[in-house]
Symmetry: C2
Subunit: 330 residues, 2 copies
């Protein structure tokens, strides 16, 4: 019988997840039912949004959720053939039987790297573009702060804001990443938040205040940004990775939004249907012309999925965090 290796949650993580919160379990895969396909994972996507999902009581004992790119190995569904590529939300495992209803077909564009095509032109890219242009109402000349700027969404947001003619400051955990944000992404300034309190270094880096804060962090970053916001400035909230810790400290400077008339809006990439056309046009052009780069951190093997997930919260990745499950190039 076919088997699969699955990443299962053994217990509810407290704060940053621990390797012992997970196990890799080999399980039998039953024969396919009608309307199902058997998928073999190629790439699995590991993202901060998984942290709140594995914090829920009902997640214990279950396969850790997640999306990925996979190839059909066997099909009992009409119109889906062996060898086809699909995107799925089937969780962190190397093989799976899936009904085709939740799958999205994927056509390889060989002129782009696979991860660029999947993510920069997918949900990650649309988060960065839509969060800035839609939610954030970005205009040329804006003073823009992007937190977690070495991350998947942040590294795109910095580059897009620069391409749109803004003054851009990014934050990252270490001095090395902070340097990288200026050198590789083209940010005007960057701050390293483990070596110095964010509030001080952000104030020094943004002498003209902040018109738009693209927030991936929350917590101390949000507290640092609020007193620097310009009148009627906007905070577009993509993520609050700091708030996934169990013992989070809380945001203290929210009253600033009254004096400064700040607007804070949470968003996700599904909010930007009306931006899909300009997004694909502009992003494709920036990518193929080399004006915008997409970075990723790829770990090999399903066994390393827990390490990848934990690494998101310890600052391990530059750009998108991925698991390459099979070595095949597609």
């Amino acid at each position: 019988m076919e088997t699969t290796k699955e990443v299962r949650l053994l217990r509810r993580p407290t704060g940053i997840p621990n390797p012992s919160d997970f196990e890799i379990r080999e399980s039998p895969l039953p024969p396919l039912d009608d309307g199902e396909v058997r998928l073999r994972s190629i790439l699995l996507s590991v993202d901060p949004y998984l942290r709140p999902l594995i914090g829920k009581a009902e997640a214990i004992g279950q396969i850790v959720p997640g999306s990925g790119l996979a190839q059909i190995e066997e099909s009992r569904a009409k119109g889906f053939r062996e060898g086809d590529l699909v995107r799925h939300f089937g969780g962190l495992r190397d093989k799976m039987n899936m009904p085709v209803a939740g799958l999205t077909r994927f056509s390889r564009r060989p002129e782009l790297s696979l991860t660029t095509q999947l993510h920069a032109l997918g949900g990650i890219g649309l988060c960065a573009y839509g969060g800035l242009i839609g939610t954030g109402q970005l205009k040329a000349g804006h003073q823009v702060f992007v937190s977690a700027a070495a991350g998947a969404v942040g590294s795109l947001a910095v580059q897009i804001a620069k391409l749109k003619g803004c003054y851009v400051v990014g934050s990252a955990s270490t001095p090395e990443k902070s340097d990288w944000i200026v050198r590789e992404l083209g940010a005007d300034r960057s701050i390293s938040y483990r070596s110095q309190p964010v509030a001080e270094s952000l104030k020094a880096a943004m002498p003209k205040g902040i018109d738009l804060y693209f927030d991936n962090v929350g917590g101390d970053h949000l507290d640092a940004a609020l007193p620097l916001m310009n009148q009627f400035g906007r905070i577009a909230v993509c993520g609050m990775i700091s708030s996934y810790a169990d013992d989070k400290p809380g945001v203290k400077n929210l009253a600033e939004i009254i004096y400064r008339r700040v607007n804070i809006q949470g968003f996700g990439f599904t909010d930007f249907d009306e931006l899909q056309v300009p997004f694909e046009r502009e992003m494709s052009q920036w990518i193929t012309s080399g004006q915008l780069k997409f970075f990723d951190t790829v770990l090999g093997g399903i066994e390393r999925a827990p390490e990848a997930l934990i690494g998101l919260f310890t600052g391990r990745n530059i750009g998108k965090m991925l698991i390459q499950v099979s070595n095949e190039t597609v």
Copy 2:
């Protein structure tokens, strides 16, 4: 020589101000300069926004700021005559010499009570109306939560939301005030936040979630409202009286704005120029027809101004907090 009684700040308050943070000082008033008028206070307005102002180092030793209605006692300014009524931002004192540049003329409408005319049809009313209709984009049928609903702005916001056809829940410090919000203001439900944690009682009072939260409190109220917000719900932030304490705890549930696509917007009454006409029309009609009531808590004598200011933070007032400095009816 003329003298005036002034409320001066002796030291920076920590948390809720203390009577010993203030002194009432009698000072001489110099003769008028050209372009100045001498004002005799009738009413002084005591509001939560004063708390952060007296928390600043530069406020120590100064007259506590504040606005009021006053009568001109003597004039050396063209077009301003003895007996005229004006609104000023001259601070908490019984008499003052003021240049006329910062004054606003006031015409008495005898069919309205003085405080209704000054506040319900002034900045307080426009805060409630504009915060709901403009910032909050209130629609009939919305599920609306108003915190500090027995206060000046909150008590108007509850009534306006009811007049607009919404389900409305208000919060107040004590069970007595909580009852009053339902009985006098017409709220559907109310919660008393000193007797029970806000999160539990709010959840029970709003089974259909929250479309619009009119926030006067921040802190635990905001943390309670965030997980109850409906998708694309709005939080219109008028004040965060809980955050004026020095040892404020911080807001922990902000990540909810991502999953729930919440919009948070800080505002002030000066933001609603385009609503001035419908505001005056609707409010005047509601007030003269008796559909909307304006409540105030009036303490007599400039000596009681510190007590009034402290009372804002200990839940002493119902409606607008005022000092009546002179007994004259105008």
